[in-house]
Structure formats: C-alpha cells, structure tokens
C-alpha cells in the first residue's frame, strides 16, 4: 500500500510518532550477535570435545570410561540418554551411541560403560586401545529412553540384558540419590553370575533404598548360583511383581537384539498395553538378511555400486549399512542414533533400491520422495545418493 494512502488511516500518525521515538532511543541489536547460538549451546551443543579422565574395570569383560569436557562444560541430560562417540578406528572415522551410565546429578563428567562383544569393531577398540588422556568428539546427549513424569507414572519396571544395564544404572543412581518418589523393579539378565556389571553397587543401593528391588536372572549360571535361571519370562516377571497389577506400571527394555522380541512377547502375554512399554534403540541388526522382508535373492556378500552426486563411486556390500560403507570410503555423515530414528543422516536416494528393517522411523513424505536413513539402509541394487 502506498504511504500516501496509509497515512490516512485513523491512528496511523500516532503510531508513526511512537515508532519515531523508539528509533531515536533504539536498542543496539548488534551487541546481541551470537546470542541465540550461545543460549542454545548451553543445552544442546552440536559437538562435545571430550577427554578420557579415568578408566575403571567393572567386570572381566566391561570397563567404565569417565569422560570430561575439554571445554570445561557438559550440558545436562536426562537419565537414560546417550551420546554418540566419534572415533578413528583403524583409519575409519565412525561413531557409536553409548548410554550414559553416570547420574545426571553429576555433570562434571559422563561415564559410559562398554562391554566386549564378539566382532565388536568399535567397543573392542575402546576396550583395547583407549587410554586415559585420549580425546575425541561426541554429540550432545540425546534420546527418548528416559523417564517422562508426564505419563510414565511412578511404578517402573526396568528390564535389562547384559550391557543394556547402562541407561538403567543412570536412572537408578538418580532415583536413589535424589530419593525420587518412584518404585523401581530392576530385572537384570546376564549370561554368567560372575560377570554382572554394577552388581556390587546395585546391591548396596537396593539395601539402602526401600523403593528399589533388583532381581538377577542368569542364563548360564555357575553351580553355586541360587537365583533365577534362564530367560526373563512372563512367569518370572509376574513372580517378581507379585501382588501388584503389572498393567499399572511402565516397562522399560534395554539389551541385546535377541532379548527384545522375546521379552516383548512375554509382556504381551501379561496383557501389558503397548503404551506402557518403552524400548531403547539398539542399532542395526546383526544379520540383516535374517530380517523379515529381506529379499531371498540377495546375499550378504553381494556387492553393489554406489554413486554419489559429487561424482565418486565405490562398492558396498548388501549386508552392511550404507553409513558404514560410506565411512569406509571416507565419508562421514551427521548422525546421532545410528538406529534409524534421529533422522540426522537423512539422505536423498536418487536412484536404486534399499532395504530398511521395520522400526526405522522415516517420515511419510520422505518415503514418498525417496529419502533414506543410511544408518539403517542396505543396498539392494546399484544406487545413486545425493551426497
């Protein structure tokens, strides 16, 4: 609208005068340069520069790494959240998410607890090579596997398998240190009774806090072990929770891939509705070709050509995630969860076909326009990616 016209609106000149006064005594906004990113940085820095301050052996197969900030500041986190560690492993810049096992009451450091696993490319490198004083980068804490007081309630059942204890350790530490109004049952499955991570601390916390009970379940018990043996079955859960209504509780699951399917079926047998179950992400499956929906005609060792829009091409194995193949070829994408849910690695597939296992969280419109999450995508043909 022309100024000449505007000026005839009743009340216009009064507001113009007001603006004139405001301009005369204007704030100098240029001093606010960088303020927005500073504010956000306090809660969600893009990257953390960490150093290993101590390494503490937990069991014969597991160690805790105490990580401190090189920038003198670590953002707060919610018990159960993880950080994604970036590391150069034998010439490949890659990353893996690890739950923080220390309490959120303590932000001078983050602890991560790592257990040796068969063919564990990253974990075993951490256990064998990393020394106090070593430095690396990580994302800031993320993830949704934490207590949400708005609807989780106060009656919580934690079901852990092996190193899946780490997020629960943070939750237990917080709840007992802060004396939170929560009733926690921890059902903790381990392979052997002499290899239980945090066993001593858990038993100490259990004996000094009436609102925490810990039940160990051992699959390969020694002859002297007198507790629960075998798997975490519906029957066992019911026995542990005797006298209470399981449907009033919130169940949390974290452990190895094989545990999820089994325990979820047991919870279903107990009539636990889906909305009362929280499941932690667990990375790409160990053998994608065994996954429902995988095309029979394609083998793990089939190789396909990956072409990038920037012009490079390389070969990738069908049985390996595209993110891993990209990293082997020197291309590191933004990523946090490496489990298909955070969507940071979202990439446009220009041509070709990939396989995403069920549970990978891709937006409807991304499916339509061909965007994939390379952290959990496997090539089924020659591909072109917009990278």
């Amino acid at each position: 609208m022309k100024n000449k016209v505007k000026k005839q609106i009743s009340g216009f000149s009064e507001i113009e005068k007001e603006i004139e006064i405001l301009r005369k005594h204007a704030l100098d906004r240029s001093v606010e340069k960088g303020q927005v990113s500073q504010i956000i940085h306090r809660l969600h820095p893009r990257k953390l520069n960490l150093a290993v301050s101590e390494i503490h052996p937990e069991t014969g197969s597991a160690k805790t790494f105490r990580l401190v900030s090189q920038d003198h500041y670590l953002p707060p986190f919610q018990a159960g959240q993880y950080i994604n560690l970036f590391l150069d492993v034998n010439g490949i810049l890659t990353s893996r998410p690890y739950s923080i096992s220390s309490s959120p009451c303590q932000t001078a450091y983050y602890d991560i607890t790592v257990r040796r696993i068969k063919n564990g490319f990253f974990s075993n490198y951490l256990l064998d090579e990393i020394q106090p004083g070593d430095v690396f980068q990580s994302t800031s804490p993320a993830g949704y596997f934490h207590h949400n007081p708005l609807f989780h309630g106060k009656d919580l059942v934690f079901i852990a398998g092996g190193s899946g204890i780490t997020p629960f350790m943070s939750m237990v530490r917080e709840a007992t240190d802060k004396k939170l109004d929560q009733q926690i049952h921890l059902i903790y499955g381990s392979q052997q009774d002499d290899d239980i991570i945090f066993q001593k601390e858990l038993s100490e916390r259990e004996s000094s806090h009436a609102n925490l009970t810990v039940t160990h379940v051992i699959t390969e018990p020694s002859s002297s072990f007198s507790g629960y043996k075998g798997f975490i079955t519906a029957e066992l859960i019911q026995t542990v929770l005797a006298g209470t209504n399981p449907a009033d509780k919130m169940f949390y699951l974290c452990g190895p891939e094989a545990m999820y399917g089994f325990v979820l079926s047991q919870l279903e047998m107990l009539g636990i509705p889906k909305r009362r179950i929280r499941v932690e992400i667990f990375g790409p499956p160990e053998d994608i070709t065994a996954h429902p929906g995988w095309p029979e005609t394609i083998q793990k060792e089939d190789w396909f050509q990956i072409r990038l829009s920037q012009g490079r091409t390389f070969e990738a194995k069908a049985g390996e995630t595209l993110m891993n193949s990209l990293e082997r070829n020197g291309i590191t994408l933004e990523t946090s969860c490496r489990s298909g849910v955070c969507s940071l690695c979202r990439t446009k597939l220009v041509s070709g076909k990939v396989f995403h296992p069920a549970g990978v969280q891709i937006r409807k419109s991304d499916r339509r326009y061909g965007y994939i999450h390379p952290c959990t995508a496997y090539p089924l043909e020659d591909l072109e990616l917009m990278i």
């Binding site: 240029s30 960088g34 927005v36 007081p149």
Partner: protein, 496 residues
C-alpha cells in the same frame, strides 16, 4: 562470473517458495539449509508409530477449487497442488472455558451467527452488528490493500480507514456485552499472539473473515508434505540444495551482496540473496556491523520480538471419538480476561489460554488406525525460560507441561489414560530449530507498531531480499506468500 544467480538462505516456508519461484523462472539457484530437512516450522518428527505435526493447525487462504483463495492460486502457479491433498475443516473452532462456556462455530457465517445467538439470545443485534462490520471492513480492505484502488480514500472506504488500526477490544465492547461472548468471538487473537486490547481490529477481522470465507484446511501428511513437495518441485526445476549447511556470513561490498560463507567455510559468490533467516538474524548474526546502515539498526532496535510457544505433542492409543474429541480445533481458556491470559505467556505459571488440535478428527488417516495425535499449544515468551539454570530446564519443562495437561484433562479426561508417546517443545526448542531470537514463531510482535503497515521489509543492502514471518504477518499463508513475492523482486532485478 558468479557461482549462482541467487542463493536462498533457509528452507522454511518463505525460502521454499522463493527458491521454487526462482528455479521455475530459470534462475540458477542454491538453497542452503542448516538442518537436515526442509520446512523450518513446517515440519514433522517421528516418535514410535506417530509422525507429529510441528506447526500447522489451520491452513488459511485455500478456498475451494471453484472459489480459490490466494494460497491455492499460488500453489497452483507453482504447480505443486497436484502433489498435495487438502482436507477442508468443517469448523472454525470449539471455544471452551471449563464450567462456563462451550461453543462450536462452523466455518460458515450464517451458522456461526446462529450458534452465537442460540447461546447468547440477549445479544442478537450486537452479534449481527459485529459480523456486518467484519465483512464490510474486509470488503473495503480487499479494494484498498489487495486491488490497490488508486482512488482509495477515507471518503470512499470509510470503514477501512476508520477501523484498520483501532484496537479489537474497543470494537468488541461496542457490540458485545457478555465477556463470554466476546471470548467466543475473538479467540483467534491467539493465532496472532496479541490480546484483543493490543491487536489491530483490521488484523482480527481479516483472520476471522478469511477462515470463514476460504475455510480452514489440513494437509494430508501434515505441513511436512507441503515442505517436501515444494522442495521436490524446486529440485525438479533445477534448483540445488545443501542440507546440514548453515550460512555463517553474508558478504557485502560497497553496499551490495557479493556472496555467502557456509558454516563449513565454503565461499559461494552470488549477487542476489533471499534470506529466510529473518531480518533480525540476517543483520545481527550474518552481516558485519559496518555493512549495515545505521538506519537499519534503528529500525531493528525499535521492533519487539514476538512470542514463542510451548507445545505438548500427544500420541494416544484411541480414536478421537473414544476420547470425546469431536472438533479438530479446540481453544481452552480459563478466563475471559484476555489481558490476564496474555500476561501468563510472560511467566512460567500455568498458561490461561491454549489450543488443542486433534488432527485425526478431520483426517482419520493422520495417525495409525486405533490411534490419534493431538498438540496442545500455549503461547510463551522466551524471557522467563532464559533465566532457568540449565540444570533445572527439564524439570521446569515438565512442570509447565503438566499444568497444560491438567487443563486439557478438565475438558478431555480420557486422554490421560491413553497416552503412548509424548514430547514437549519450549521457546528454547523453537530457538534451537528456528534460530530466531526468543524462539519467535510469528516474527516480530503482531501489535500495530510492528504490523505489516509499519514494517519496511525492503533491505537497504542491494541484492538482499527477505522472506518469512519477520517481513509481516506470521503463519503459513503469509510466510509462503512472502517467499514468492521476494523471488519476484529478484527476477525483476535480474531482468533489468
């Protein structure tokens, strides 16, 4: 030789329509977006089996195929309408003050008047009077502001010139006595983030009239479907885009743009830049102080940054009707005193006005079968959130959201027993994802002094153009259209 004819900073609503308009005109364009997904506010995120809508509640300006509104016409021009499916909403809204009032207005002038008269039979003439004024005002506004009648004058269009800048509350008082009735009619003030006492009547009239005449809409797949279709069309038209690539600096020489430097340190030369970063961030964060004329600092310093919001996203394992949810759009307020409600937005106390949208009412496909999603939104300024120590941020966020949920449960008690997923966004979340000062979702405040009539969105730096909420009114339709209009200016300049 420049790298690109034009660079678009930010793939929000304004950036996307700017980019698409440029690419379709054959302008060699690069779009830079610091996040990994297009849309800015117009986006979604996935939790469990739900894809949550982040920002869109009621799309305005669509109209029908036979009576297209301005937004439908633009999406037609941009050739993306074929990729999208729109669902017309039957109602403007349901307005509830628990224990005091509960009324639903259909998106139809006659039926809305009828519903109001049935609840407030003593005020029939006032209701007629107000509706007559709103429609008469908008008719005149179309002639003055849209068709730009060269003979526009207070004599020819007296209602427009008299009422455009009057405050809404004064006008409401002239026609309506019962504060409940005033609330029922004026609740769209919260879409503007300004209480009726500070909201220009012109802006209120236009929003009420436009939703009634052009109808409120929902997009199948949510606002992300729109953002993704715009980006797809942009790329098909030859536009280039880089995600995870923010702009660190706009290069200026002799008062004209020369290029941009990305966060990764790449220098890209161009003579034309459309910034969807908002005028505040563009000048304060992206351009060296000495290149911004003093006059622009005064202009920015006189403006007030607008409101942000707190949103509680709910995924529930029941159909809307099982939860007693019959309307998509539900305004729940706890007082008829809108100034008081507005005052709560500047505190961490329980907000006294909020919106609850359940998308599945009008679009049963929005969530998986047997489930639905809702969003509770309360407007909130960032200041009190900025004073919380970081160690207390999460507990504050949950405490605040619990207050909002308690209000929701007064109207929809069954929601409480069906929650499967929930997340909360605060002004700090908006700040993080939008990069705007104060996490502002509508740009500058929508008071008279910061309204479109008094905003000069033309840049004093040659080659720089602005798109997005900071150029005028906030919301989907205005920001989408601002991008097209900025791109047209670039195209004209390139043709010279």
């Amino acid at each position: 030789m420049v790298d690109y004819d034009a660079v678009v900073i930010g793939a929000g609503n304004g950036g996307l329509t700017a980019g698409l308009t440029l690419a379709r005109a054959g302008v060699k364009t690069l779009m830079l977006e610091r996040h990994n997904i297009p849309g800015g506010c117009a986006t979604s995120f996935v939790r469990g089996r739900f894809e949550f809508e982040v920002a869109l509640h009621q799309l305005s300006g669509m109209g029908t195929e036979s009576f297209p509104g301005p937004l439908r016409s633009m999406l037609n021009d941009l050739n993306v309408i074929k990729d999208l499916e729109f669902v017309q909403m039957e109602n403007l809204y349901r307005a509830v003050i628990p224990g005091q009032m509960d009324i639903t207005l259909k998106a139809d002038r006659g039926q809305a008047i009828q519903a109001l008269k049935a609840k407030f039979p003593q005020e029939t003439s006032g209701i007629d009077g107000l509706f007559d004024l709103v429609w008469a005002f908008c008719n005149q506004w179309v002639h003055v502001a849209i068709m730009r009648d060269p003979e526009a004058s207070p004599e020819k269009y007296p209602i427009y010139f008299q009422y455009a800048l009057k405050d809404t509350q004064t006008v409401l008082n002239t026609f309506l006595k019962n504060p409940l009735l005033q609330s029922a009619v004026s609740i769209y003030w919260s879409y503007m983030g300004m209480p009726p006492s500070r909201l220009p009547f012109g802006d209120f009239a236009i929003i009420f009239w436009a939703y009634t005449e052009f109808k409120p809409y929902h997009i199948k797949g949510g606002s992300q479907a729109l953002s993704s279709s715009l980006l797809n069309a942009y790329m098909e038209a030859g536009g280039e885009v880089r995600f995870n690539c923010g702009v660190r600096k706009i290069l200026v020489e002799n008062n004209r743009t020369k290029g941009v430097v990305t966060d990764q340190g790449d220098e890209i030369s161009t003579q034309r830049i459309v910034s969807n970063a908002g005028s505040y961030s563009t000048y304060v964060d992206l351009i060296d102080r000495e290149h911004v004329p003093e006059e622009r600092w005064r202009e920015l310093g006189a403006r007030t940054i607008g409101t942000s919001a707190v949103t509680v996203f709910l995924g529930m394992d029941a159909e809307p009707e099982d939860l007693g949810i019959r309307e998509t759009t539900n305004f729940i307020t706890e007082t008829t005193d809108n100034d008081l409600a507005f005052a709560t937005f500047k505190t961490l106390d329980s907000p006294k006005a909020m919106l609850f949208t359940c998308y599945d009412v009008d679009d049963p496909d929005f969530s998986p079968k047997g489930a639905c999603q809702g969003a509770i939104v309360a407007l909130a300024y960032s200041e009190p959130w900025l004073s919380i120590p970081t160690t207390r941020y999460y507990e504050t966020k949950y405490r605040y959201a619990q207050d909002m949920l308690n209000t929701l449960y007064k109207v929809f008690p069954d929601c409480k027993n069906h929650i499967e997923e929930m997340d909360v966004a605060t002004p700090l979340t908006h700040m993080r994802y939008l990069g705007h000062p104060g996490g502002a979702i509508y740009g500058f405040e929508q008071s008279a002094k910061d309204s479109e009539l008094f905003l000069d969105s033309a840049s004093p730096i040659e080659g720089l153009y602005h798109a997005g909420a900071f150029t005028g009114m906030g919301g989907f339709q205005p920001t989408l259209m601002s991008g097209q209009s900025a791109a047209r200016k670039v195209i004209r300049a390139l043709q010279k």
